[in-house]
Symmetry: C2
Subunit: 240 residues, 2 copies
Amino acid sequence: MTERAVVKAVEVVVWLRTLIHERTLLTGMRLPSERVISEQLQTSRVTTREALKMLETQGLIYRSNRRGWFVTPPRINYDPGRAMFFMEYVAEQGFKPFSHQISKKRVLADTALASLLSIEEGDSLVELKRVRGADNRPVYVETILLPERRLPGIYDHDLAHSVTTVLKEEYNKPCMNVELEVISSSLDKDAAEVLQAPVGYTSVEIHRVSRDAQGALVEYDVEHWRHDALKLKVEFNIRS
Amino acid sequence: MTERAVVKAVEVVVWLRTLIHERTLLTGMRLPSERVISEQLQTSRVTTREALKMLETQGLIYRSNRRGWFVTPPRINYDPGRAMFFMEYVAEQGFKPFSHQISKKRVLADTALASLLSIEEGDSLVELKRVRGADNRPVYVETILLPERRLPGIYDHDLAHSVTTVLKEEYNKPCMNVELEVISSSLDKDAAEVLQAPVGYTSVEIHRVSRDAQGALVEYDVEHWRHDALKLKVEFNIRS
DNA sequence: TAGTGGTCTAGACCACTGC
DNA sequence: CAGTGGTCTAGACCACTAA
């Protein structure tokens, strides 16, 4: 039988998926421990972990540090085209959002950065790092770079909440044009730590370049999302 | 030492990554077998596989069936906003693209589909399935749905190449507006088979809804990409 | 401190691929 | 047919979390 080889881990997958779908296990709840599952279904722990990792890839469950496996909450809809900021649209979807600033400092553009952002080498940038999440679960880390020469005094503004709002209201730069780059990747050590996930966890990486009406870059942003927490939505017109 | 626990698999990761970065292992080449690696680095096969899976998640290597592990080719840049079709933009990036039609048939819209596509229940749709890839490596499968009532005679057109072109030139529908939904997920059995990947392989799922100038839906498309083969690019203006 | 996940070992058999 | 990856076992010790 061709099936035989796959059957054990898949059995565990099916068993757990059923528990989730029939709502015996609810969103956010802890799963039984790996050892308990193994005993219950007469498998080794390795096989059980194999199954858990499959469900993790599907986005149905996730793990947090060494605390256990949990049923994944619904994904957050993220539409970078809407002029709203995180706290708003996440609350709108029924979550309790949070946002913590990790660091804020000045950096100088090296050659690579300068050419990437079309600024001069040695130009000063404000670098902002933050984590954001919903219902006490961190979902993404981001690093924002703001060219100080184009945004004089930006360092002293309160950027803890919405950078977009500050750009729009204080600098009259509504960031009309956005360029997005999205790839599937994995979390490095730093990002994993902040997101309370294991190193190597599947992630979605979003690079966002925002330009003002004159086409000048005003914000460069890199986001690392837990892969299972994000549903990205974009709307645009075809350029022909 | 906190590090001790992670060291073995990471050693293997570092070793292989070095081989790839110093170009001892080139794009598309097969890696040494799991048993050889294990012997070389004095680890068990389980640990070696752990390392290989980490590199796979990072997108640096991939596996094909039971043939072995290979160094991942560069990602394909996919920009749904450009009015070009697969064969063109992939060739433009230096790959040798291919596209195979898997099936083409009529389906009737059930309740769910009808409300999703804003058509009438029971309406006829043309369903098209195809695989596409580059350099003999399949990278995504897609299912296209075309409402026949809005596109009379669409079933008999040659859709093997570019549906977009047919819509534009034969139906005068340049698909002005596109709605994209992107999530990270995993391949089911069918998709995995077609993409020559293991069941559960990390994937990027793209749902694309295209509308004509009157706002009527003319194409619904679901794509399942190998996660490591795609770099999605989108450009748009913020709606405020 | 008890229990959890994280890592690791040294085997084993199977299904499939490519020669 | 030899070699590959895919699956599985029955243990083990560790680092960390939560009570």
